[in-house]
Symmetry: D3
Subunit: 242 residues, 6 copies
């Protein structure tokens, strides 16, 4: 294997992960999640209303928005609010975060209210969408705790944990949790979202260079499964649940 990772990280190792709850004070859930130098602030806001397509359904909703501060990246990118629209990439990511979170929520048990997950990247170094999903789950969990404490909910609508990680093939080597320089150089890039009980929620694999084989996909899925199990343990530890 010719490719060596920064800080001597092993091919199947996550970067140092930090999950800091109560990062800001107004939101029902507020989590700064760091995968190495990637830092994403995830807030969960509860609103006692639902979008039009859910009104009267008795069901609630979870939705996500994603943004990147203009200088979260190596070179400054234009502010989407100033450009007047969100890029296709932004929309793709926020749709992914929303679907991932909804996969572990019982919307009926949530009742007719909305949890908005805002994932804002303060610093980017690869894997912002997977960090966002992992952190947004913790923020949503905190928001549910607030609703339970307020007596607005009597039982949690959370059915399982959810976390995400990226995997990829760089110079022929399958790697877990790509940082920016690896992401730029990879042939195949795959984002995997899984539940705490090991089910797949999303698998999005893209051949950036040469197409990938079934064998490579199997290796990548194994790496992702390992990484997400570790993330799940870190989420539990941050939340102080067994």
């Amino acid at each position: 294997m010719s490719f060596s990772r920064s800080s001597g990280r092993a091919a199947d190792s996550l970067r140092p992960v930090r999950i800091q709850r109560h990062f800001t004070k107004h939101a029902e859930g507020s989590v700064l999640v760091c995968f190495g130098d990637t830092q994403v602030l995830c807030t969960a806001s509860v609103e006692e209303k639902v979008p039009p397509f859910k009104r009267g359904s008795g069901e609630g909703w979870l939705t996500a928005e994603y943004g990147m501060l203009p200088r979260a990246t190596h070179t400054r990118s234009d502010r989407e609010a100033a450009k007047g629209k969100q890029s296709g990439r932004t929309q793709e990511i926020q749709r992914l975060i929303g679907r991932s979170l909804r996969s572990v929520f019982d919307l009926q048990a949530l009742g007719e209210r909305t949890i908005s997950l805002d994932c804002d990247v303060l610093q980017a170094d690869g894997g912002t969408r997977t960090a966002a999903i992992t952190g947004a789950f913790v923020a949503a969990h905190d928001a549910i705790s607030v609703l339970l404490a307020q007596g607005k909910l009597t039982a949690s609508p959370i059915r399982d944990f959810v976390a995400a990680v990226s995997v990829g093939v760089v110079q022929g080597v399958p790697l877990l949790d790509l940082e920016y320089t690896e992401d730029s150089a990879c042939d195949t890039d795959m984002n995997v979202v899984m539940t705490g009980s090991g089910g797949f929620v999303e698998v999005q694999g893209t051949a950036e260079g040469a197409p990938f084989s079934r064998a490579e996909m199997d290796q990548l899925l194994a790496l992702a499964t390992k990484g997400i199990a570790e993330l799940n343990a870190l989420q539990r530890q941050a939340l102080g649940v067994a």
Copy 2:
């Protein structure tokens, strides 16, 4: 197995596929592709310029846009031109089509020109994005033939074929090429893009209901591989190449 498909279709069968070249007269490539009742008009337009980020690179570019006529669907949806913006879904799909096509093109061999692939859904019945990719490849192939015939290219920049199909799990049964009623009812929905030589270009699997297991994913990938091989044969037949 309790679920039975319309027209008695087998679980591992494609819908009737039609690939009609030269559907309109102005475009360098113009293909009406039908997967059952899903009808997508794919045109390939050649322009002798490239976007800013490719200028002076000696490389060309392929890009795609996707649209749906307002009444392609059961109920009329608002026209995106009238709303003033493309939805996140539209952008996600057109980015997918563009990446898929570029995966089989040698951009250096294409030279500094752009092939724009417009995929407009005339009638929707599930699988519009996979039909679009499958048809857009044929339209792009025709556009390259025009460039070769005009002497603007001396060798084809096309390195392989590319096609796409959806697969999913409906009521526990893995199915190939979902139509609308199946797509609405499925637990897992996966879009797979593969090359003619059998490499994976994109795998996008989503759990709409319950998470899916490794075993289910393996079944779905096998179905997709079978379907894409058949689509690839139909593309070759439509193009009259061996």
Copy 3:
């Protein structure tokens, strides 16, 4: 007369006209109308609601939207959905189609519902707006038949037929139903909309080059009257009404 038309068409002849009903399956009315190489898909969609300014009035509404696929034309034009707005030309045309259709409808008899006419140009070769009006009427007629069959209406709100054609002066010769090359070369271009009983609904004449005289206008109106009578007969034939 030095100017000769393609295919040896006479100055006062329409191009071959095709009116194909039930072109797509979801819309209440769906018509592909062809004036020679100009092909427009016209769908009529019924919605059981009206815009705000008609609410509670007891009257219905007809409205039209017009679009052109990016490569319907010789060179690709930008997609309006991607640009984020409809051009002045698009808006002008869709307002014309709407007014033309409303001129033959009894909005009171329609009841508080809306018929949306979507006219999408698949291939353009001159006269797209006149083909759109001619086809949209047939689609709207089919939609009314559906409402009658469903018992939602007991009598038709259609008071007359409506159709449209372009006329123009090319190299001093008045011509009926201009195709693209004629349209580009004409001094005067006039779009005429008339009812089945021969009343004028719209006359829009523009001097592209030299101003036009009363004598020329009279010749053009006579040509248009002849053409629209023929189109009216073709609409009746397509609909199978006397």
Copy 4:
């Protein structure tokens, strides 16, 4: 004839017309034109550049923009700048003004410069677009005089005069120069643009209620021809040219 006009105006009379040059001080041409209570400020601005499609052509360009102050009308309408887009009606009108003015200009003789005509309605009482065309011509004429005085042009590119008027059928009576109450009540509304030498530049007739006949159209065109001859005389008088 049961219909009587305000102020006892005859059916074939214009309202009092006022053409006030040099209304504001910065523009090369600035004209306040009043057709009765309709007041439009028309400015002509010269810029020494042309739009992209004219660059290097040796030809100039004339273009128009139209606006209405929010309270020019009986009830306040939303400001288009605040809504973020111009209505279809606004775009239709400004395209009409631009075409009308270009019809009497020799763009080659103008040279590679642009004359922008801004027509802003201060008070509306019917006929704003026809007043705008009539006033914009005078403003453009003044702008050309400035260019001649500056020595930037040695001969005028103006080949003829152009003016416009509305005509319509109200309660069966053909009327010249409709004011708002007449315009709201009319069955047929026609805007006519003609040159000083009596050629037609634009004829736009619309049946608001019942379709109109050839006989009615002939009457309306005769009224319009009379009115435009009078407007043309008033333009000449305002400009002090024979």
Copy 5:
């Protein structure tokens, strides 16, 4: 003192001020206000509804919009309606006008209705925002008179007068009511809004060049106080109130 003002104006003199009521006929209040060559048309429109955040509050609202005709200035500026958005400067000014007017209104006494103040600059020569506030007050006063005359109000909700003026330091000399050439050359520019009874509503001072001192600020505030007292007298005279 080396700097001399145009027309020999003294440093502490206003330009000739004209306040012309009933300038247009539709609005409840319509005032053309001129500070020298700066001309702003201010209309006040009454609508019997309030924005969402005031519904059910029993209180009314005043709001302002500001616009500049494209050729109100030396060189033509783009029309904001055509650009599709209002500039930051425009928004800043209209927010300032709205706040200033609200400061002298008792919103409770106004009742649940809105007064919209449209301030459109016909000709600009410095001080457009201060002229707009001064004129908008008179227009609003006229609108209230209409409501009183209609019996919709029994007592005026106007608690005080309000007017505004600009002051600045040019070449070391503090000046009242800057015209354009002075505004462009000034080191410090300050807009001051005061009530008839001499209270400050807004003070917005900006160092365009060198920072300004407390001593300069005191001089400028004294000039503004003098100017606004004169404007207040002119407002009373125009309205014919003691």
Copy 6:
């Protein structure tokens, strides 16, 4: 004095201020500035180009953008990127920050490059714009140090320090550095920007309730002068300059 501040703060005391440099790693300057619970991330990005109006002038430019994370506030506000435009308030603030920073820069000495200041509010508790100006100066100072270290500049273009603070009258008591509850309750709100040498750059005072007197303004300006001197000392300390 009946009003007592949170944490027993004196009327003329700043909240605890924290200025943390190098908060993120990519930007040339990156400062987290906290005024009590108000937290703003200010980054300074250097780009070796200038906006069009400065090209070829030999001068550089400083510009600012301001944003607030959706849940920086008590209740979630809509994301401006999702709404497709920046509010008037946002534009007003970013224009203020830009002007304030430019007041202490020698743009000629900066050379033809741009410093973009992005001020993003992570948590809001009143005074976000004044914290942003204070922090942005430190970030810009760091960016200049980078340019000096890289040899791109040989002398600093910074002529002075700049900082800002809010002052206001709450229940009759003049207070320094308002927090959110004070800001909501105040009669008069004033933002003051001053240089290190004590000159005024901006004074923006607004009467939220009753107008304010000259005496109140004098008290507020004295408080602001005291507060800004303290902020200036904190900036120097953070930067380690005398």
